[in-house]
């Protein structure tokens, strides 16, 4: 896994909700722990599924850049930060709970919804 893995699709087709906005995601990890690896894998899968072509993932390893932790108020590891679209969201954990991850990213209304 690279420091910064960009998987972008600039002119992707519209999503189900007709959204065209770009997604900027930042995943904070601290070394190659199983949790980090799992988190990245889960994130990538979800993005491909729900945001094909309009997302950007930046992985920050705090072991190498500890000074970056304060900026995004990182306490727990791994933490996924949704920089865009606003508002900022934080999702902690290895993202193994897909349902909660989608809720956290606001890709899906919290439970059955409308």
């Amino acid at each position: 896994m690279n420091d910064s893995a960009k998987l972008a699709g600039q002119t992707a087709p519209l999503g189900a909700n007709g959204e065209t906005e770009q997604w900027e995601l930042r995943l904070y990890i601290a070394g190659q722990t199983p949790k980090s690896v799992a988190a990245f894998a889960n994130l990538k899968r979800l993005c491909e599924e729900h945001l094909p072509g309009r997302y950007k993932i930046e992985v920050i390893d705090l072991m190498q850049h500890p000074q970056l932790a304060a900026g995004d108020q990182i306490v727990a590891i791994p933490t996924l930060v949704r920089k865009l679209p606003e508002p900022l969201r934080r999702i902690v954990g290895d993202l193994s709970n897909t349902e909660r991850t989608l809720v956290g990213l606001q890709l899906r209304p919290a439970k059955p919804g409308k």
Binding site: Y28, A30, K35, A38, L62, M63, P66, Q67, A69, A70, Q73, I74, V75, A76, I77, P78, T79, L88, R89, R90, I91, V92, G93, D94, L95, S96, N97, R100, T101, V103, G104
Partner: protein, 588 residues
């Protein structure tokens, strides 16, 4: 000197301690917090946890050369900086000098979604980074329990906290972790479970509408520590904890004597005044002149060049200065010279402990040789009598240890026995002056007497005193049938005595005059007699002369007849007779 005595060396020299630099805290912990270990500071909201932690860091950075990291979970760096600026701590400057690092950790539950396994490595990374960036030796986590409200997985949190405290120990930093007081537990989330080396409990109690902050060392592993609750106060210089001065009677007794400021009162006290570093109580009814005598005492101390600290609980400094000027005691020059310092505050503004702490602080700062507390009894309005008693005991001990002579005044209300003070401190004081009003013949007059004075032959007399333009003046003693005469009775007596004296004086003078006259008469008579005698003598002499001349004439006649009868014998006899006649005449 006294401070060194209080400052006990740690009982266990093996346990290294990090001094906090907080006034009094190092004394009761026997040197500071356990070095290289975490200490839990817990207490309810607003009891001063954050401040204590901050002061620990700032003092560490400025006084002991130990940089510190403040990890705040509640306030931002800006807020913290502002909050402690009033205490004279400039966090920005310390941060620039790399002596202090503040990291604000915000954990908002509504911004966070938990999706599976995680740990708090992020926190560790931040802390580690902050510590390494300035080489910190001290760390504060304030209040780490905020994590519990931000993250829901308690199992993970607890495990991680345990790991964090372990990690802090391994890192070798002296840490202070604050925690909110819980229901029946020291902290809401049971932090005491993890931090077990030293636990300090802060308390902010309100009793009878008086709030008092107290501090207690709940536990301190591996060392002896004081176990009592200690009052502490937060003021412009940060926290100061008030260690109960060791109530061991160890103070040395001075043989030096100092004047009370009133010469005749000194005379009553064995002729030399009070003992230095003794405690003097002056009790009396309202308006009996306590403050005036206290002012004399203060002025005398200043005149000797000693510093005097005057605690006024009922009057403002301005009022005291004005009132004392009216009886000829000008304290203002001493105030200007910095020898006299007034500390005026209503007794009711603080709790007793706070007063005690304030007094301690002021005494330490001002270093007076003489302290006046006027009146000490008003402190009872703050706490119960028992509390006030305990406080005064502490205070008196503290002052004695410092070698300070203390004058306490106490108001006795009319319905109480005079020999009972509002606060029962009579056994604690060395000298007790009692002032009272004597009501007699429709007037009130002030009298004083020395009820007791340890270690000196003191007067047993009841003395009247007046407040004159020259201050307090003790009057002469006149005893009447009803005891000591005061006021008009004394003045009447004085007048009578004066009249009697005058009369006696006049009598003596009259006698003297008579004597002179007599002598003069006598002398006159002697002269008269002499004259009479002389006159008589003259008459006698004249008679004799006449007699003689007649005899002469007779003889001459006879001679003449003889001549006429026997001519040749005349010349022989006539010569000597003529000569003797001549001598008698010249003798006259």
């Amino acid at each position: 000197m006294a401070k060194a005595a209080n400052h006990r060396t740690p009982a266990n020299p093996g346990l290294a301690k990090a001094p906090t630099g907080i006034q009094g805290l190092d004394e009761i912990t026997g040197g500071g917090l356990p070095r290289g270990r975490p200490t839990l500071v817990c207490g309810s909201a607003g009891c001063g946890k954050t401040l204590l932690a901050m002061e620990f860091l700032v003092r560490g950075a400025t006084q002991f050369g130990e940089p510190g990291v403040f990890m705040s979970f509640e306030e931002t760096a800006e807020e913290l900086t502002q909050n402690v600026r009033s205490l004279g701590f400039d966090l920005d400057e310390l941060a620039q000098q790399k002596k202090l690092a503040i990291d604000f950790v915000r954990v908002e539950r509504n911004e966070i979604e938990e999706t599976g396994e995680y740990d708090l490595e992020g926190l560790f990374v931040r802390l580690n980074h902050a510590i390494d960036s300035i080489g910190a030796k001290r760390v504060v986590l304030d209040t780490i329990e905020a994590l519990f409200s931000g993250l829901s997985n308690n199992a993970i949190l607890r495990g991680e906290l345990r790991r964090l405290f372990r990690w802090l120990k391994d890192k070798g930093v002296t840490a202070v972790i604050t925690g909110e007081r819980g229901d029946g537990t020291l902290t809401r989330h049971g932090l005491e479970e993890y931090v077990s080396d030293c636990v300090i409990l802060l308390d902010h109690r309100v009793m009878d509408q008086m709030s008092t902050r107290r501090l207690r060392i709940v536990k301190y592993r591996g060392t002896t520590h004081e176990t009592n609750e200690y009052p502490f106060l937060i003021d412009a210089d940060g926290i100061s904890v008030l260690p109960v001065t060791s109530l061991g009677l160890q103070h040395t007794a001075s043989a030096e004597r100092i004047s009370s400021g009133i010469p005749r009162l000194d005379a009553m006290l064995g002729g030399e005044g009070f003992y230095r570093s003794s405690t003097v109580l002056m009790s009396g009814t309202a308006g009996s002149g306590k403050t005036s005598i206290a002012a004399h005492f203060a002025a005398a101390a200043c005149a000797r060049g000693e510093r005097c600290l005057y605690f006024a609980f009922e009057e403002s400094p301005g009022q005291i200065l004005r009132n004392m000027r009216s009886i000829g005691i000008d304290l203002e020059p001493w105030v200007k010279k910095g020898l006299l310092h007034f500390h005026a505050s209503r007794a009711a503004i603080h709790g007793l402990e706070m007063h005690l702490a304030t007094i301690h602080k002021l005494v330490r700062e001002f270093q007076p040789r003489v302290v006046v507390m006027d009146p000490v009894g008003s402190l009872t309005s703050v706490g119960t009598r028992q509390d006030a008693n305990v406080m005064l005991t502490r205070l008196i001990d503290f002052l004695k240890m410092q070698g300070i002579t203390a004058l306490l005044t106490s108001l006795t209300s009319g319905d109480e026995a005079l020999e009972q003070t509002v606060v029962n401190v009579s056994t604690l004081v060395d000298t007790w002056l009692l002032l009272r009003d004597l009501e007699l013949d429709g007037e009130r007059n002030r009298v004083m007497y020395v009820l007791k004075s340890r270690g000196m032959a003191h007067s047993n007399q009841l003395r009247e005193f007046l407040l004159t333009d020259q201050g307090v003046e003790l009057q002469n003693v006149y005893l009447g049938a009803e005891g000591v005469l005061t006021g008009s009775a004394r003045q009447t007596r004085e007048a009578t005595e004066k009249a009697a004296r005058l009369l006696r004086h006049q009598e003596v003078e009259a006698k003297q005059r008579e004597r002179v006259l007599k002598r003069e008469a006598q002398e006159a008579r002697i002269i008269a007699l002499q004259k009479e005698f002389e006159a008589e003598e003259e008459v006698a002499k004249r008679d004799i002369d006449q007699e003689q001349s007649r005899e002469e004439t007779n003889r001459q006649d006879r001679d003449r007849m003889g001549i006429s009868r026997q001519g040749d014998k005349v010349l022989k006899d006539a010569e000597p007779l003529a000569r003797s006649h001549e001598t008698a005449r010249s003798r006259k």
